[in-house]
């Protein structure tokens, strides 16, 4: 019962947190979207609440988090009910009219069933292999156990002295890392009253499957349900995504938030719905709350959105500032948490707080073409590996060329490509200016950095290359 309630509370919180922003909008496939984002947003919200509760009153943090969570839920339900329009019922009653069965089309139905069965087959196989793999190493990889779980242990074992997790005396644990994953782990342990080691595998598979559900939602909304199931199945067969999920690293959750924020923004731009910018802002903020790379993402994303909104044919300045306000208000809490963490708690890091000057960075950045070539070679080697990516980057390249030749600017399809380029350019600069050995950095981190944009790249490629709904 306790495990069940710990499992159900955050997704319910996530669902109720988002639902009011989708109400009375033209947002497509709301149920599918909620099924994809409830789990990550719920755990993101729980980790944020726990962080703020620890800042204010560590000894009663668990109860504060619970009460705050319940308060948000009640407020959301009240908001949903208060703006519920009963006239909608008569609208539906009118539109249904005299009961009639929908027109049966054989081909789309066959495709839908095939896609669904394919996804279920791949999902069962993935879950089976996941359970076998975690049985061999239930504590996860190095970062999972020695960074993320260690931070969670400080929060769980000694609430009064939880700030020791930021101690610069803790070697090789990155005191400046954001706390979405440790917070989610600690939240579960506090709820269960013990360091249940199955909690980390549970969180990891939750985030991993959320990526697949996000692809189902987006591709079903923009192309067809068959494409959604095919895209999600394709994601589940990608080796690196599974590998880093099974090691409980924070890279899969980050890739979810990057894809979620970007795809929601694309829908917000297409549907011209202001309220959706809040959802995109919240997902971007949670990306920053997951990993330092997420901070780079939110900066790139904000710049890109500002440029889009600026060059868009927006009727008034008020409309521009209104959209920007919605985006920022969605991101405010996670960004505030990051600012508190970086300014007052984890003040030392590899980049910010490293004591290096701008000259040091520039020296490293322009210290020779051989380093740049080494990095480019790593990109080439990785993206051309069929074993790793099953031809995903080939699809991506074709989709980019196709988009360039045909209606490149239509329906904001290019936004994911822009994010991919900006984020990876930022990563390239970060790798080149890393204080560690470049080869070691490429060996240990490169594949994970590439993984961050994989669900986004997959959604873009499948949307661009698949048949549009009018031609199925």
């Amino acid at each position: 019962m306790t495990f069940f309630s710990a499992f159900i509370f955050p997704p319910l919180l996530g669902c109720l947190l988002i639902a009011p922003f989708l109400q009375h909008t033209r947002f497509p496939q709301k149920i599918l979207f909620l099924s994809a984002v409830s789990f990550p947003i719920g755990y993101g919200a729980c980790s944020l609440l726990l962080f703020f509760a620890y800042l204010v009153a560590p000894p009663v943090a668990t109860w504060t988090t619970l009460v705050a969570g319940l308060g948000i839920m009640i407020f959301s339900v009240k908001k949903l009910l208060s703006s519920f329009r009963p006239t909608r019922l008569s609208f539906w009653a009118k539109s249904i009219g005299p009961f009639s069965l929908p027109k049966f089309n054989l081909l789309p139905t066959v495709f839908l069933i095939t896609g669904f069965l394919l996804f279920v087959f791949i999902l069962i196989r993935t879950l089976d292999f996941y359970s076998l793999t975690i049985s061999l190493n239930v504590f996860g990889g190095w970062d999972a156990y020695y960074f993320w779980a260690l931070k969670a242990k400080f929060m769980f074992r000694a609430p009064a002295e939880w700030q020791n997790l930021f101690s610069p005396d803790l070697f090789w644990t990155h005191p400046d890392y954001p706390l979405l994953l440790p917070g989610s782990l600690a939240w579960g342990w506090l709820w269960l009253g013990k360091e249940a080691f199955l909690w980390a595998p549970f969180l990891a598979i939750g985030f991993y499957l959320s990526c697949a559900f996000l692809l189902i939602w987006y591709l079903t909304s923009t192309v067809s349900a068959f494409t959604g199931y095919l895209g999600a199945s394709f994601f589940l067969i990608l080796g690196p995504c599974f590998f880093w999920a099974v090691h409980f690293y924070a890279d899969v959750p980050l890739s979810f938030f990057i894809a979620g924020a970007t795809l929601t923004a694309v829908i917000a731009l297409r549907e011209k719905e202001e309220k959706l910018w809040r959802v995109s802002g919240l997902l971007s903020g949670l990306a920053a709350w997951t990993k330092n790379e997420g901070i780079l993402f939110i900066l790139s994303f904000s710049c890109l959105l500002m440029a889009i909104l600026f060059f868009e044919k927006i009727k008034s300045k008020r409309q521009f500032s209104r959209r920007l306000y919605c985006f920022l208000s969605g991101a405010i809490l996670p960004v505030l948490a990051i600012l508190i963490l970086k300014t007052f708690l984890g003040t030392t890091g590899d980049y910010l707080g490293s004591g290096r000057t701008l000259f040091d960075y520039l020296t490293l950045l322009f210290s020779g073409w051989d380093r740049v070539l080494l990095l480019l070679n790593a990109y080439r080697k990785s993206v051309t590996s069929f074993t790793l990516w099953r031809g995903l980057w080939g699809f991506f390249l074709i989709a980019v060329f196709y988009l360039g030749f045909r209606n490149g600017r239509s329906r904001y399809k290019w936004v994911p490509v822009g994010i991919f380029l900006l984020v990876n350019l930022g990563y390239a600069v970060a790798i080149l200016t890393s204080p560690y050995n470049l080869e070691w950095q490429i060996q240990t981190a490169f594949e994970r950095l590439l993984l961050h944009t994989v669900p986004l790249v997959l959604a873009f490629s499948f949307e661009t290359l698949a048949l549009s709904p009018n031609h199925q």
């Binding site: 791949i122 975690i134 504590f139 020695y146 005396d169 090789w172 031609h471």
Partner: protein
């Protein structure tokens, strides 16, 4: 009739694009259906039965071997961690340090011989005694299997 058909064709996608898209679906479907997960080692099956059968006590977390030192250590604060060799973050032999930190948190371990109390974790008892002398510590518990608790000498 033909006029209508031509109109539809003009408004629709060129046929080569449509063929290319059908090919894309075919290729993606084939890639998914022909994918294989690597086979799990045979020991994974009994381990899974144990893990999900509620016998999780059999799974020992990294650093559990330092649990026996806990009664002799302070609850919180900082403690030094001395090994055979001085600390180097890129050396794989440093893993016991990370494992001990993970197991003994909220105690903060430092790899330098600077704290009043130290955990000595060496490959054998002789090495533990040697390292305690080198770092100016006096062993008060152990050494047992190369592990000991020591205090800083004035």
């Amino acid at each position: 009739m033909l006029k209508d058909r031509l109109k539809v064709e003009r408004n629709g996608l060129p046929s080569w694009t449509r063929i290319a898209r059908v090919v894309f679906y075919g290729v993606a479907f084939l890639l998914v259906i022909t994918s294989r997960k690597p086979s799990a080692p045979p020991q994974a099956y009994p381990l899974r039965r144990i893990l999900f059968g509620g016998h999780s006590a059999m799974f020992k977390s990294p650093g559990f071997e330092f649990g026996s030192l806990k009664p002799f250590l302070p609850q919180t604060g900082k403690v030094s961690f001395i090994m055979d060799i001085p600390y180097d973050p890129h050396d794989a032999r440093m893993e016991p340090f990370c494992a001990a930190q993970a197991h003994l948190a909220p105690l903060v371990l430092t790899p330098f011989p600077s704290e009043r109390v130290a955990i000595i974790n060496c490959s054998n008892a002789a090495m533990a005694i040697r390292r305690s002398h080198e770092t100016n510590y006096r062993i008060i518990q152990g050494p047992s299997g190369g592990k000991a608790i020591a205090v800083k000498q004035p």
